[in-house]
Symmetry: C2
Subunit: 398 residues, 2 copies
């Protein structure tokens, strides 16, 4: 384990943040003669590149091993969906929480805490239940009841903290290691273990295509997923399992485009990044992507620069339309925070950034079924009304 | 293809209902030297026991191949969940619609029609989209907008028919074969092809356990799934891939217990079954199971009798509690229509019907994420409210 900021090396099993500089940890692996364990399901095939104690029994709901579906959208490219909606709670976060909760149980934790009523909250609640650990979901006030309900179904303890979300996140870090509490939040500076779970998406894509694609397009919220994907592709190339690296495109909400601004301005330090004039309170349906200053944003920027990538901003309406276009073309119901992929890929194809015929993977992060309640007021359905006697003509034509 | 009622044999590729007697068709397969095609994913491994034209290209979203998860519920038995929530639209119906829509496209249909805004409706909309066919969802008035919304996301044409549901179902049958319309409704008498898709659950269970379990417990709505499961287990035994057959338990809503009444009274003919005094309009949250007279009920009864099985009735409140118990113990979020499994299995264990140590598979048919809106008014979440300064004590203990 090595600090990304000050290069300090660390071997403790329960250290989360660099004790020297407060920076985020990464892990180094021996890639020589790398082979997957094909007797294991999903992400556990890749255990050799996951930072878990050798004897730790996996906490698993059979996450990962998701399909790569060829899209029928007519964009002049070879577009595939990496369908992460097929994970146990409907998002790629299940990969990360499977690793975090496995680590938590291995080091003797009694409960797993996150600050999230979104995908991370669901994954944490489900995996903690699976592990026989307690789970705690911290949230700010005003979280919609529809989003909270599944957390109660997983038996999570729900705590609404009278403060803003950034302050709660900061406070949550300090809970770790006391009284059996483990903090599973999916920010690398809070928990570097979970961050390794997301790499497995890259391993699977290379396995499914037999090579890295030309482009991977990724909805970006906290920035950790795109950073992890990049490390995954680099590890595949370094291990000789891919001969090249993909270019990465990050998709963000129009109102939360700090990443795009920083990318354009060449910003690569935390102070200037945090000073960008974005706010956390602009309403958007793209709740999974609405970080004013993504906590793993610098890592995301590094991945974008290293991959000769780009950033695309998408608004709410176009995102919802994207969800519906993927649904109608491909039978895939994406939450709007993943529906952003359709207009983003279309734009990159139209302006020539993605060349005709290119192999493009869209990371379909989250299922629409968890977000129907939020889409409903924006797209109230209006069925046709037909009398019984007129049914045959209406369906089969005159 | 052979009629279950009058034994007429039929070879037409687009015949759905026995032209001689109006009965339901079954299929006969050559089981000698049966081997699965392990190069194919999910249900397509079992294609040799699916009634599809040899050259038909599968319409697939990578359905089936679902996990068999060991439960942590303390019931004194070896309980496993066959986790059908992991299918593309969140239920086992995806297996059936994959087969139906593959058949539809193979025989040149232009659109696939069902009468269902529930699991069947979602599967039909998704697979028709995947196949590049149109889809039509017929429904009666008063269907909740939350249930309709995902259907619009899949681009389905929604038609509300001014009539009761049984009349709409009867009318839908007559749409088939006209103007390119294919009817995919998951009732065997309407479409015997789809009914074969559900068998693949039995094949997978035998493969995962290496043998048939002692019991399979199944939520029953229309009755087709439990009938298909039974055929699947019989085929496994006849092919020599299992040495025995499981006992089957059907779980129904208390207010919709025609199956239990018929089972107890030894009813095995349609007239007496239809005469049982059950109604279609009793409100219940168990909407996936609320058939007054399940259309494939006689087949379900036959499977229950042949397997020395039983019927258990569960009420709404116990079902919701069952969903939450599975969530907290196993990290599995079931819709209440599958949450019924927990109290049902508990009751069968408590009264000695299921013996201690028995291997029991609960067919977890549908995901809770699609039904949160319906659970919400019955279980409004109430998070604890904690001040920031009190957070550490609240989470970690004093």
């Amino acid at each position: 384990m090595i600090c990304l900021d000050c290069s300090r090396e660390e071997t403790g099993r329960d250290v989360m943040t660099c004790p020297a500089c407060g920076g985020s940890f990464a892990f180094r692996y021996d890639l020589a003669g790398l082979r997957w364990d094909d007797t294991m399901p999903g992400i556990w095939r890749f255990r050799r590149l996951l930072p878990l104690p050798p004897g730790a029994e996996p906490v698993s709901l059979d996450e990962g091993g998701t399909p790569l579906l060829k899209s029928r959208l007519d964009l002049g490219i070879d577009l595939r969906w990496k369908d992460e909606t097929r994970n146990p709670t409907g998002s790629h976060k299940d990969r990360q929480l499977a690793v975090a909760v496995t680590h938590a149980r291995a080091i003797g934790a009694r409960r797993s805490v996150v600050v999230s009523a979104g995908s991370t909250g669901l994954s944490n609640a489900a995996y903690a239940a699976r592990a026989g650990l307690g789970s705690v979901t911290l949230m700010s006030s005003g979280t919609p009841a529809e989003r909270i309900l599944p957390l109660t179904a997983y038996g999570s303890r729900l705590i609404e903290v009278a403060s803003d979300i950034d302050t709660i996140i900061a406070a949550a870090r300090h809970l770790a290691g006391h009284g059996g509490t483990y903090v599973s939040s999916t920010t690398r500076s809070t928990n570097p273990y979970q961050a390794e779970g997301a790499k497995t998406v890259a391993f699977e894509i290379v396995g499914q295509l037999g090579e890295a694609p030309d482009w991977v397009v990724v909805p970006v919220g906290g920035g950790g997923t795109i950073g992890a994907l990049w490390r995954g592709f680099v590890e595949m190339r370094d291990a000789g399992l891919a001969t090249r690296l993909p270019r990465l495109a990050a998709v963000v909400p129009t109102a939360y485009d700090a990443l795009g601004a920083a990318f354009a301005a060449g910003i690569d330090d935390r102070a200037r990044f945090e000073a960008l004039p974005y706010r956390d309170d602009v309403p958007t349906i793209l709740t999974k992507l609405s970080h004013a200053h993504p906590p793993d944003g610098l890592e995301a920027l590094e991945a974008l620069r290293a991959s000769d990538g780009t950033v695309v901003a998408v608004d709410d309406e176009t995102a919802i339309e994207g969800s519906f276009r993927a649904g109608a073309a491909d039978g895939l119901y994406l939450e709007p925070s993943s529906g952003v992929l359709v207009p983003a890929i279309e734009r990159l194809t139209a302006d020539g950034t993605i060349r005709p015929g290119a192999t493009v993977v869209g990371l379909a992060c989250g299922s629409g079924f968890r977000e129907s309640f939020a889409i409903l007021p924006r797209r109230p359905p209006s069925p046709e009304r037909v009398a019984l006697a007129a049914l045959a003509a209406a369906v089969n034509g005159a």
